[in-house]
Subunit: 571 residues, 2 copies
């Protein structure tokens, strides 16, 4: 007699129909999926007090075709003028295209779209062919007071793409996605901003074949959104890749920029360092489309030597030991790992259960004092020259041991590396059954890390039946980040938003930055004035006034630049 | 019979009299000297066609007491109001103090002062006691339209301290020079801006004794002006230290800043990285006093492990080989040296003659093909963890050999390190005999390095009897800097200025940046608009307008912010 196969929900394997709500909020590849495993499913039922019946039928999938009738509010001559600039084939006024390009990947967008709720959309979608198109569009929109929101990869998790004041959505990834030049002597790459992560990285990796280069290179930037985000987006939102502890954050990778603004074109110089006054390139970084449209970026690239990569993973007995060892590694002056991550006890334990640790290993670890809900997983890899990766790995191992860690070899790190880009797909599956998985993250200095971790967790765990997994994944001598993953069931988007706002309050109250690498967008904008301070915000508003006096560049709350007092959150 | 001792000029050993012109332009310690050696003297005679008689009597020493009668142009009530803020003991209206604080260390300042020529000076010198004083002074001067020039170390080589429009000189190094806090967990130091290099570094090095710290630290910033420059000056002029290839430039060392401006106080956050919009701290860096007064700085510090330091030096057969090896070292991904320098053939040969290389070594090198006026000296040191310094030194040695270098051991590097801060003293001695030694420097990418080196040298060497020694001393994966030292005799300051302007023209024409680490000040201001571009300058002017709408902060040409068209140099 065969054992009955345990029930598994009918996770959707159906690519969303073109034109459907689901096609807008679904992550990444339309036919890409990553379903919760059997263990994940068991955990969800247990945590949320659900049973198989609750997972019998998917709800609010957003399978229907978008039903929306919102005629563009631009005047006919305006639409014609824009079409004349880029060509009729590069403008779209249909509701679907306008909606699709008005959305990023926040939970609230997913929840609403899956229920057929559509917020503000642009009046026209425009696909510029090159920087000259962008110049003419920006000049025209500036003159005509038509708002412009730039859309590139569309992976924003901060409502950065919402055309609150209508106008046009400028899609730079359609045409302006070329790799322009590799300079091997300077180790720089010049690209158009709309180039996606894989195209960029592949060109560099295959530089000998594709560009007749003498070597292979890497961009060193691998955010979780790597496959569906673009170089321009990385720079404008101050992103950070998973190998940032070695290669630096997006801001560090920029050598020079070219931006088209209502106040004229800016092209910064490409020197590795200068003392020629405040650096205009630095204030374009992080501007999230509020100052102008990025049309070219030159980045540092690195020699690609994957054969030298070394993976490591450890189990620490406790969170304080994991944190202290990590600080020692970040401050030890012996070189730095590329990827380096530590998971807190809840993430570690759930991870071990969900992704599998042989029972034998678990028993061994427990015997040696690595107790569940105390022990912490650490994983990572070292890149660079062969002797360097050998040295740094050895030093890391030595520090880890000093702080009581047991080495687990490279397996966990390799496994993580293989699946690292596919996690976001699981959110759709959970959403189909009324469960929301989301994340918030903050930079933090070492001396406030424990308080921030405790403060945010306390808030999240006070809510009944809410999962909270935390890791630190970007390391600097002065601190790191905390990345909070929370999973819960919410009555409606309102309850969800209130809960999320409470987390942000806690992050701010306990010494975290508002954002380490997600950017600000509109989601975090209400907090930004109290976070940065009024005089710093005045500086940003002065820059906004200079670049964009008619407020056409991504207006309506972005970066908190034009928020009314009543829309600001004060602690 | 004893050989007659060869004639040596009577280099001055007399500290300048207090109140004299010389006391203003003399470098560093009033009783500090570094005289040209006998070999230097021989070289000067030979190069400039001079004989012992030309060095018989020192001329234009500026020994006379400052003779100047320039009553302050501030109104009595204004002077009284300023005195009321800081206390009468902290204001001075006498001509000497006003002159002394109006000068930096350029050649043209030395030439003119030694001849009794005094340019613009402030009307009053004010020594604020703390940031509250600064707040009240800035608010008062803003309201009364009184210009403020901030003076800290006084080592500017760009005319950055010249009070072109009068007003007050605010001396922040008198009182605001304290080390405020060491945070060992975050490895940060909070200081007042007027703290000098040695006080800062010593406090960090002796942290266990002075601050009961667990470890010793280093600031990692050692510009040639180290002993007579301050932390605030480093940051505001975008300085770079001799160990920058490892520790980074001054801008990289800043964690957060506090600045008092006419538009209010700015205090930036101290996270190691954030994605919360354009970073206001970044645009304060390099502002050279044009936006406000720095009142506090938090910097990264590093573990101080001098026992692990390893010195190296090499001789390369040629400049191209030295450059290529250095690029390989900067791009090799095996860690980085702290100090790393390569001298071009002229600097190498003069250096060998002037600082002595045993004849035997020279013969050996020549035999092996290291020919004079081709060979290039390379020296440096590696800092950090012990295993790391061993590895990096080994890798550097391997690369150097691959490019044909002969190792000279650590001697040359150690010798350089011992004397590195005293070179500026020699300028006074030369000036006493009508010889001017000065420097200009530029950042450059690898692919333009040879052209820049050639282009600038060609110009300098076209002038009869002019020495030009060049080195690169700050290394990045994308490029380095070129530091040009030129020595010549000039009829008057006008001829000198024209010659200097010609070098700057050449730097710009051949792809160098206007400045790698000296800053812009007023010296390079005429070139800045054509260098950065008009739209970038518009951004800086917009910031200036925001921070300082009445143009009281260091007005009159600084950074080219308020230059008339006719004062701009166009290529």
């Amino acid at each position: 007699m065969k054992a009955k196969k345990p029930f598994q929900p009918d996770w959707s394997e159906e690519p969303p129909a073109p034109g459907s709500y689901r096609s807008i909020f679904k992550y990444g590849d339309p036919s890409g999926f990553k379903h919760p495993s059997g263990k994940w499913y068991a955990m969800l039922k247990e945590e949320f007090g659900l049973n198989d019946r609750d997972f019998a039928i998917r709800q609010n999938e957003g399978r229907a075709p978008l039903a929306l009738e919102r005629p563009p509010r631009l005047a006919e001559p305006q639409m014609a003028a824009l079409a004349a600039i880029v060509g009729a084939e590069n403008v779209t006024a249909d509701e679907y295209a306008r909606t699709r390009h008005a959305y990023g990947k926040t939970s609230e967008e997913m929840i609403e779209l899956s229920r057929g709720v559509v917020r503000e959309i642009a009046d026209l979608v425009v696909h510029p062919r090159h920087k000259e198109d962008v110049r003419r569009i920006v000049a025209y929109c500036h003159a005509e007071r038509i708002p412009i929101v730039v859309f590139s990869g569309g992976s924003s998790v901060t409502l950065g793409l919402r055309p609150v004041k209508g106008g046009i959505t400028l899609v730079v990834s359609t045409h302006m996605n070329r790799f322009l030049e590799l300079n091997e002597e300077n180790q720089t790459a010049r690209v158009q901003p709309g180039i996606f992560g894989p195209a960029y990285e592949k060109t560099l990796n295959q530089a000998p074949e594709r560009l007749r280069a003498g070597r292979r290179y890497t961009g060193g930037h691998f955010p979780q959104s790597f496959e569906y985000s673009t170089v321009g987006g990385w720079v404008l939102t101050l992103g950070s890749g998973q190998a940032s502890s070695y290669y630096g954050d997006a801001a560090d990778l920029v050598v020079s920029l070219e931006m088209v603004t209502p106040a004229g074109d800016i092209r910064t110089l490409d020197y590795p360092a200068t003392a020629t006054g405040p650096k205009v390139a630095d204030l374009i970084k992080g501007s999230e489309g509020a100052f102008g449209v990025l049309v070219e970026v030159t980045l540092r690239v690195y020699r690609h030597m994957p054969a030298n990569r070394r993976h490591f993973s450890f189990m620490f007995p406790s969170w304080p030991q994991a944190v202290e060892a990590s600080r020692e590694i970040a401050q030890g002056e012996f070189g730095r790992p590329a990827v380096y991550r530590i998971s807190d006890p809840e993430e570690t334990d759930r991870g071990l259960k969900l992704y599998g640790m042989p029972r034998l290993v678990d028993r061994f670890l427990q015997k040696r004092g690595f107790a569940p809900m105390a022990r912490c997983l650490c994983l990572g890899s070292v890149e660079g020259d062969r002797d360097y990766t050998r040295l740094v790995t050895r030093k890391i191992r030595r520090v880890a041991r000093r702080y009581g860690a047991a080495s687990l070899g490279g397996y966990a790190s390799r496994k993580w590396a293989r699946t690292r880009y596919s996690e976001p797909y699981m959110r759709e599956d959970l959403n189909d059954f009324g469960i929301t998985l989301d994340t918030l993250e903050a930079a933090v200095n070492w001396d406030r890390l424990m308080a921030l971790h405790w403060g945010v967790r306390e808030y999240i765990k006070e809510r009944p039946r809410t999962i909270c997994m935390t890791h630190a994944s970007h390391f600097y001598p002065q601190g790191t980040n905390l990345y909070f993953i929370f999973i819960g069931r919410f009555d409606d988007v309102g309850e969800y938003r209130r809960f999320q706002a409470g987390i942000i309050d806690r992050i701010q109250a306990h010494g975290g930055s508002l954002s380490h690498h997600h950017g600000v967008g509109r989601l975090l904008a209400p907090w930004i004035e109290s976070h940065l301070g009024g005089t710093s915000m005045d500086v940003l508003r002065a820059l906004k006034g200079h670049f964009d006096p008619h407020e056409v560049m991504n207006p309506g709350g972005l970066l908190g630049l034009d928020l009314e007092d009543r829309d600001r959150r004060t602690p």
